[in-house]
């Protein structure tokens, strides 16, 4: 399709939605005026207009698939025969499943913590330094890169050639120049998970950094100046004033990154495809759903596990929201 027909389709598509809202509200106004219905009636219709598209989308794209997935998890591989708990029992016994859970836990413990920590430290450092804005932009840049692109970039870091051959991976170049043997980093069990996590931390720290940066602005400067005049060291100020003040923000960022990490798929897919014991739930689910004819029963069990893994976070969020509302 050439560029003009594409542009036309794009324009028409967007216009559809703009016109829907505009016209329906216009009609409602007109109708209300002409028939002199009460404000309440108008209001309820207007609510429907406002939320209808989003509600439909929400239902079709999120709610329906969730229930469909739960349903499929009780059926066989092509969704035809009911098998009860069979798939769940399989999952509990499957060593790949158990390893994925362990790996996911590792990811959930390490990546949000380190990303948040680095984000906080760098935000503080960049705040006081005149070239801080440039530094922030550089550290945020990986967020703009697709995971596939990140895969290519880190290929040049982790690449392995035999001992004695020229290394083209940065890590092995450093290793060999220090006199050690080059390693096939992504194939070393346990450690390879950490190397993959490094990629995610590289990407997510920027997010934490940006939010912390803005949050730091909100700390009243009088408090900080007073502490400095009192002779407190920068480190002490960091620990005793800044961190407590930012508690709320720290938790929010930690939550956001945790949710992102729980769904992590692309990095592992592009770098190791789950080989060498790096698989996580999302990859395992993808494998079962889309390989060798597909097994929607088992794939659905795994998808379900990813979801319930987030329920604690969800509950905590709602609790915070309630607290917010009350205060």
């Amino acid at each position: 399709m050439n560029i003009f027909s594409l542009a036309l389709i794009v324009l028409v598509g967007i216009l559809c939605f703009v016109l829907f809202f505009h016209l329906s509200n216009l009609i409602l106004d007109y109708y209300g005026r002409v028939n002199k219905k009460g404000y309440a009636f108008e209001n309820s219709i207007r609510v429907i207009i406002f939320i209808a598209p989003a509600f439909i989308v929400l239902f079709v794209f999120i709610i329906y698939p969730v229930f469909e997935t739960i349903r499929l998890s009780f059926y066989d591989k092509i969704g035809r025969d009911f098998v009860g708990w069979h798939n769940y029992i399989w999952a509990i016994k499957d060593p790949d499943f158990r390893r994925s859970i362990v790996n996911n836990l590792g990811w959930l413990l390490i990546v949000p913590t380190l990303s948040t920590f680095f984000g906080l430290v760098i935000a503080n450092l960049a705040d006081r330094i005149w070239w801080g804005t440039i530094a922030k932009s550089i550290i945020f840049m990986p967020m703009a890169i697709s995971f596939v692109g990140a895969g290519v970039i880190w290929k040049f870091i982790y690449d392995y050639r035999g001992p004695g051959d020229d290394q083209i991976g940065l890590l092995n170049a450093i290793t060999t120049s220090l006199g050690f043997e080059p390693q096939a980093w992504l194939t070393i069990p346990i450690w390879n998970n950490l190397f993959l996590m490094a990629i995610m931390i590289w990407i997510q720290t920027g997010l934490a950094l940006v939010i912390f940066s803005a949050a730091l602005r909100s700390i009243p400067s009088e408090t900080l100046d007073a502490a400095r005049i009192d002779g407190a060291s920068e480190l002490k100020i960091f620990w005793s004033i800044i961190i407590p003040y930012l508690q709320q923000t720290i938790l929010v960022i930690w939550t956001i990154i945790t949710i992102l990490v729980l769904k992590v798929f692309d990095i592992i897919y592009a770098m190791t495809n789950g080989q060498w014991q790096t698989e996580v739930l999302a990859n395992l689910m993808y494998d079962w759903m889309f390989r060798g004819g597909g097994d929607s029963g088992r794939g659905s069990v795994l998808a379900f596990c990813i979801m319930i893994g987030v329920i604690p976070i969800l509950v905590w969020n709602l609790y915070q929201h309630k607290k917010d509302q009350q205060s």
């Binding site: 594409l6 406002f50 929400l58 330094i129 596939v148 083209i168 923000t249």
Partner: protein
Amino acid sequence: MTKKLTFTSILAQILLLLFVVAWIAPTFGLFISSLRDKDVLAISGWWTSFITTEVNEIYRTKGMEAQFEKDGYFYIEDNLFGNKKPKEISSFGITSKNINEYKIGDTALFKDESEITLKNDGNYSWKSKEKFKKKKGKRIFITASSPPSFTFENYKEVLFKEGLGQAFINTFAVAIPSTLIPLIICSFFAYSLTWMNFFGRDLLLATVIASLVVPLQMSLIPILSLYNDFGALFGVAAKSYPGIWMAHTGFGLASTTFLLWNFLKSLPNEMMEAARVDGATHYDTFIKIVVPLSIPAFASIFILQFLWVWNDLLVGLVFLDKNPSEIILTAKLKELLGSRGENWEILTTGAFISMSVPLLIFFSLQRYFIRGLVAGSVKG
């Protein structure tokens, strides 16, 4: 804050510098690699491209068809490099077992008693008492120095390669509506969740927050089946642009609504009350008051969603066809990654090209981004 040049501030600067270097090194490596000659990309590290290095290469002489007779001897003379880039040769060899046996100017002796001399610019002269009988030339192994050289050849090759330009356009055709449509729909939705009262509002809000965590892989097959049924019913294709716009809208709905809601609830109540008293409907309030105030939020969400859609691979793979008229940039790049295992120059350049748009957008709109993103999640 006072800017004293204390020990701690120097330490802080060094620490920050270390972070910055660590963060930019990987991308920098990719950038340099994309500018290197394709022959050396997979052979030496990108950091060596700044210094002159030694390379070992193999070339083949011409065979019997190029020979001519002179003074009773038979000669084959030509330049080893042909139409490839010439290099400065330091030593050469005639067998794989000893690749730098001879220095420039030496005469090398073959097993059949013919001789060859080589000049450092690649010109060789191969002399034999008897007529050359083999069509196949002989291999010459050279060790040469390769000075730092960078080239835009890779970019030219990739940009004009069939399919990448089209993939670029396709991705825009996907990304722009997939960003604007959620923005339109969700801004009304978020407004109603914040400023309208209706039955079930809290439940709806809780559902939206809950949907933040649904992994999109779950939704792929149910939705595609739905599309297929829909398509069969109405006689349209299941995989189409409008289809993928709605899919992205669906997947981005929760986060877009959440962020907008977060922002909208920080707007002052009094403003809404005043408008209500003046007799404005919700729609008027929305268009005339809320939208202008929300530009930073819109901008930041636009950036976030655009980045996400531009960088997406899975949704594009599932909801669009792989043929050239519909394939998106990330899928094209993944194809190159998968099929050009040995054409690293295409990989690196392709990755950089696909990064260019998100980076451009990010750098030009970053102030909106930061402002919009943090409003609401930060106290004060």
